[in-house]
């Protein structure tokens, strides 16, 4: 048998090797070989991760942390050493399995999806880079390593979103995604620098076992203010969270995620389920004990999450682009995960329900969201557009896809026994137990909205009369390479809830914390009935509006003849426009223009003045040296006279 350390290396190495081999050697020439190589390597990585998970969870060692390997990357001062290591604990093992599995599925799917693309080799290389970066992030043992892979995740998403670089919309979407997340990352980096300065260490184990009391007596100068180090840590925790805020596309940094739809669909699928956006949630979950000691950080996290959850769900109800609907649903689900982490704090104590629920939701969400995106891709492949306008009636032609979609949609709607029910129920319970009743109400409301917009999509795409010529004519088929992963993913979308719940309840606690914690609170027995009741009501509403015999589909898809509020929501509250206005007017037209004007006029002006001044001085001297004899004689005489009367010339 292979030992765990080798397994750990293998998990990281397989995607890396795929990236290098496909990127340098196979990419250009033989796309087919690149695809097969990528699928095999990612499959092996998944096998390694699965074996590691099996070893880990079946051993007695289970909920403890272990570091499989740890290499010094660059030493700074004292204990401040950046390391590249591999941390194994329930959270990271779970993520390893999820990331490798999703990436395996997406690679299989891409064989079908990218079949006609001539740059498919590059695609497979970048896809593996993406999963490699995420795997490195997941196993990080310290903040520095996390940041390294965090940035690599960012850049691989940039390259993949802008994969079709001849499409201007894809290029600008990729730029927007990178710059917005980079903007958040600059705060993350500042947070890392600040926290590591105060604590003198990057390691998660040190950060997670801090106690603020040790830092109250020391002060730190932050330029404009001098504050106690304990407060600097709170500030640092918020700055670090800002990194996750941007990466997880929480409001108001959410706009890049729906626009990232311009990339190939497998990329959207992997971004939304496993690699990119959950990184923010993962960061908070990883540093949870640290955030818990920092007073207001968790409250901020909760409100950011809760607001994004409702906000995105409302937008999703009106959209027509199926990938956009799914993107907003991801935002909303990320909001759930984020607020569940934040809702853990009850006064001065912490209940771990929310943490378990959130990580559980990362797990279940990955499967059904990946599956939904792959389905969306395969629908788009059939009708050639993202628009619901052109769909409808696809259910009859794509039976297997239809069934799998239904499973995933029931899962995201939180209807038992599908996976989403278990995790979402725990999240809502966490809000209730945390006595955050407003958020609790919002979460229930959003769960209704979720069911509504998902079934809206479902009914409009699969039911009713076909609205696309190709579908009417019967040119619809299910591609094997594309349908296989969808079918495989339906299994965990259905079963991962009840199958994994015991594991999560047994092993998933956020580690030793320095504040009192309530390990388990009473389960509110009535809650699942309420949540499911709301979901069923929303389902019925969606059915009445979009699939029942008296539904007006034409009216449902018409966004022009609508009330003001509907239009505002349809245009995503005009956030894209506001963003562009701010960037154009304030950054490019404002700061940058002023900076350049300062340089071009003030600095160059001063330079020109100096040059002019030197020239004038030269002119003065030149006049004296013009070779004009009377001038020389005159100055000679005047000089001699002056010397005679004021100096010591003996005349």
């Amino acid at each position: 048998m292979i030992d765990d350390i080798t397994l750990g290396y293998l998990i990281l190495l397989f995607p890396l090797i795929t990236f290098v081999v496909n990127g340098l050697f196979l990419g250009n020439k033989c796309a087919k070989a690149a695809a097969i190589f990528a699928v095999i390597c990612n499959g092996l990585a998944f096998a390694a991760a699965g074996t590691l998970a099996f070893h880990y969870f079946s051993s007695d060692f289970a909920p403890q942390k272990a570091i499989l390997f740890d290499h010094t990357f660059i030493p700074f001062i004292g204990d401040l050493v950046a390391r590249i290591g591999m941390l194994v604990d329930p959270l990271s093992v779970m993520m390893l399995v999820v990331v490798t599995f999703i990436s395996f599925m997406v690679n299989i799917y891409s064989i079908g999806y990218m079949r006609e693309d001539r740059a498919a080799g590059r695609f497979f290389a970048l896809l593996s880079l993406f999963s490699f970066s995420m795997l490195g992030l997941v196993v990080a043992t310290n903040l520095f390593q996390m940041f390294i892979f965090w940035e690599l995740v960012g850049v691989s998403s940039y390259l993949l979103i802008g994969f079709w670089y001849h499409k201007p919309s894809a290029v600008s979407a990729s730029k927007q995604a990178f710059i917005l997340t980079r903007f958040a990352d600059s705060f993350f980096l500042l947070g890392i620098v600040l926290v590591s300065y105060v604590v003198g260490n990057f390691d998660f184990s040190t950060l997670n076992s801090l106690s603020l009391i040790d830092f109250q007596k020391q002060f730190i100068n932050l330029g404009l203010v001098t504050i106690p180090k304990s407060e600097a840590l709170v500030l640092g925790s918020i700055l670090i969270f800002t990194g996750g805020w941007g990466k997880s596309a929480m409001f108001p940094m959410h706009i890049w995620l729906p626009n990232a739809m311009e990339g190939p669909t497998p990329v959207s699928s992997i971004i939304h389920s496993a690699t990119m956006v959950v990184a923010g949630v993962y960061l908070v979950a990883r540093l949870f004990p640290f955030f818990a000691i920092c007073d207001n950080a968790l409250t901020l996290i909760m409100w950011v999450g809760a607001f994004t959850m409702v906000f995105a769900a409302v937008i999703a109800c009106t959209q027509k682009d199926i990938k956009r609907i799914l993107a907003y649903s991801t935002l909303s689900q990320l909001g759930y995960m984020m607020f569940a982490l934040g809702a853990c704090k009850i006064g001065q104590v912490v209940a771990v329900t929310g943490w378990t629920a959130s990580t559980f939701h990362i797990f279940t969400h990955a499967f059904f969201k990946c599956s939904l995106f792959l389905i969306a891709g395969s629908l788009i492949h059939q009708v050639g557009t993202n628009d619901l306008d052109a769909m409808g009636g696809l259910g009859k032609k794509m039976k297997l896809t239809y069934a799998c979609t239904l499973i995933s949609i029931l899962a995201i709607s939180g209807i038992p026994p599908f996976s989403g029910f278990f995790s979402k129920d725990e999240i809502i319970l966490a809000a209730f137990q945390g006595q955050h009743y407003v958020v609790f109400g919002l979460a229930l409301f959003t769960s209704g909205l979720t069911t509504f917009y998902m079934f809206r999509l479902f009914f409009l795409a699969f039911h009713g009369a076909p609205r696309h010529e190709g579908v009417k004519a019967g040119h619809v088929h299910e591609d094997f390479a594309m349908t296989l992963p969808i079918a495989i993913l339906a299994i965990p979308a259905l079963a991962s809830g009840f199958a994994a719940q015991p594991i999560f309840e047994k092993f998933f606690v956020p580690g030793q914390m320095n504040i009192p914690q309530l390990v388990r609170l009473d389960h509110a027995e009535w809650l699942p009935f309420v949540a499911v009741g709301i979901a069923v009501v929303a389902l019925v509403i969606a059915w009445v509006l979009y699939a029942s015999p008296w539904a007006k589909v034409g009216r449902a898809l018409d966004e022009t003849n609508r009330s003001g509020i509907y239009k505002v929501i349809y245009h995503k509250f005009y956030f894209d426009e506001m963003y562009y206005a701010v960037v154009r007017q304030f950054i490019f037209g404002g700061i940058a223009r002023v900076a350049r004007a300062f340089n071009d006029y003030v600095i160059e002006g001063l330079l020109a003045f100096t040059v002019w001044f030197v020239h004038k001085l030269g002119d003065l001297v030149r006049f004296a040296q013009a070779g004009y004899l009377p001038f020389y004689l005159g100055t000679l005489i005047v000089g001699v006279l002056l010397w005679r009367f004021f100096g010591q010339l003996p005349l």
Partner: protein, 505 residues
């Protein structure tokens, strides 16, 4: 043996020039071959010697050069009437800078093989430039140092004025005069140093052991620091670099931005801060204020520019500002970060200017608004440019990230108010860097391809080789930064020792 090899680093390029004097300019091919061979040999020697220095690290160095850990130390009488000697040697920092120079010179010679005009003189000037830069990074005698330092600006002027493009006369003059202005400040203080220290020679190590009077240091340090900072384009003396770079031919841009601009920062560290640590401690916390322009505003100015070379020049200005941030922090990590950034930025900007030059040779424009979709026609050059961009915006895996994060962490260790503010601003401005780099790459490489570029070709083997080697250097430093930080730490330790003990007596 190694010492002879070491001395041959600067002699070989000179010998190459002399050898080529005998060959008529019409035999351009032979001349090119000789120059490429010579540059390659020097590169090999320097790489070998860097390895030797790394392998020797930890063993006691030449006692004559204590407290500096110099290898290959040579001390020969030279101009005895001024007490100026030929003193050369290298520690980790010097050796890495020499290696950087050798790589950039080699790449510069390779990219300019089909330059227009008199090739014989062009290559001779490149080799002379290389000689002077090697000399600066080797010499430990102040007179020798200054001779090499001056020689470099003159070669630069001739090359820009004769082989440049655009406003080459203006750019060349602006560059040379500004650098000469800096040199005059340095020269004034060098005399002061010699006389005030009461040393018997111009030996840097000897002067460093004397204690310079405080009132002298107080005026001499800022003068000398700013004099050196001129060539590293510290605000307000940055104005020469955009015009100079844009007018210069590719190889000169690479050398100017890659190695010559590091000479200033190196001089600040090795001469100004090392010899006058007491004044450095008082002045440097205020110098930081100048960096707000370099680090924070520089990238914004780059956003507004359309010319590739201007964009890269402003990007260099902002990256060099980070070197000064590391220096001004005066912490061991900050100084190491500054040295790392010197090396990393050399490779990075060399790659930048190399790819820009290659693209310019094909498109005959450097205006990014006129380009588009070039990636489809020139995937290799496009990828090279994008990788340079990623290294520039501090992507982990490339050396830029290592250097920048080291500087940030090091600068944050410094407790002075102004340094804290500037460090925070510098960290936050990594976004702006990303903006101009992505904007440039997207406009130039992506999007639809204009009709007129349909016939463009990708890089040839020689160009690909240059890109591959420079990218490999960036990746090598970025992926295994441990050895290089170890090497730099040993050379920085004596300098930091001097600074930290300053002001105590």
């Amino acid at each position: 043996m190694n010492t002879i090899l070491f001395n041959s680093i600067w002699v070989l390029p000179l010998l190459t020039v002399l050898a080529c004097v005998l060959i008529p300019a019409t035999y351009a091919k032979a001349i090119r071959t000789i120059h490429v061979t010579s540059a390659t040999i020097v590169l090999a020697i320097v790489c070998y010697l860097t390895y030797v220095v790394y392998a020797l690290s930890g063993t006691p160095a030449d006692p004559a050069a204590a407290p500096l850990a110099l290898r290959f130390f040579t001390d020969i009488p030279w101009l005895s009437m001024f007490n100026a000697n030929y003193i050369v040697g290298a520690d980790g920092l010097n050796m890495l800078l020499l290696a950087l120079t050798a790589f950039i010179v080699w790449a510069g010679v390779l990219v300019s093989l089909n330059i227009k005009g008199n090739q014989k003189i062009f290559f001779a000037l490149i080799q002379l430039l290389a000689t002077s830069v090697y000399g600066v990074y080797m010499s430990f005698d102040l007179v020798l140092f200054f001779v090499f330092y001056e020689m470099e600006a003159l070669c630069m002027y001739l090359m820009i004025a004769c082989y440049g493009s655009g406003k080459r006369d203006y750019g060349g003059k602006k560059l040379t005069l500004t650098l000469a202005f800096g040199s005059s400040m340095i020269l004034a203080t060098l005399f002061g140093l010699y006389f005030e220290s009461g040393a018997t020679s111009w030996n840097l190590i000897e002067i460093s052991k004397t204690t310079l009077p405080m009132d002298f240091q107080m005026w001499a340090f800022p003068l000398m620091f700013m004099g050196f900072a001129v060539s590293s384009s510290l605000f307000p003396f940055h104005f020469w670099s955009p015009d100079g770079h844009s007018a210069a031919p590719t190889a000169v841009s690479m050398l100017a931005a890659g190695v010559m601009m590091k000479m200033g920062a190196y001089g600040c560290l090795r001469v100004a801060m090392f010899l006058m640590p007491d004044a450095a401690k008082i002045w440097l916390p205020y110098v930081v204020a100048l960096l707000i322009f370099n680090v924070v505003l520089g990238p914004f100015i780059a956003i507004r520019h359309k010319d590739l070379k201007y964009i890269t020049a402003y990007s260099s200005i902002s990256h060099l500002g980070l070197i000064f941030l590391g220096l001004a922090a005066m912490t061991p990590i900050g100084l190491r970060g500054a040295s790392l950034q010197m090396i990393s930025h050399g490779f990075l900007t060399g790659l930048f200017f190399a790819t820009i030059g290659m693209i310019y040779e094909r498109t005959h424009t450097r205006d990014i608004t006129e380009m588009g979709g070039i990636m489809r026609k020139m995937p290799f050059l496009g990828v090279g440019f994008v990788l340079a961009g990623f290294a520039g915006l501090g992507l982990p895996g490339f050396s830029g990230f290592i250097a920048e994060s080291t500087i940030f962490i090091g600068a944050f260790q410094q407790d002075s108010t102004l340094t804290r503010i500037v460090t925070i601003l510098a960290i936050l401005s990594i976004t702006t860097t990303a903006v101009y780099i992505l904007q440039t790459a997207n406009r130039m490489l992506h999007g639809p391809l204009p009709q007129k570029y349909e016939s463009l070709t990708d890089g040839c083997f020689r160009e690909k080789l240059v890109i591959v080697v420079l990218v490999a250097c960036l990746l090598f430093i970025g992926v295994c930064p441990g050895w290089i930080s170890e090497l730099l730490d040993q050379s920085i330790a004596p300098i930091f020792e001097k600074i930290s003990s300053a002001g105590l007596q």
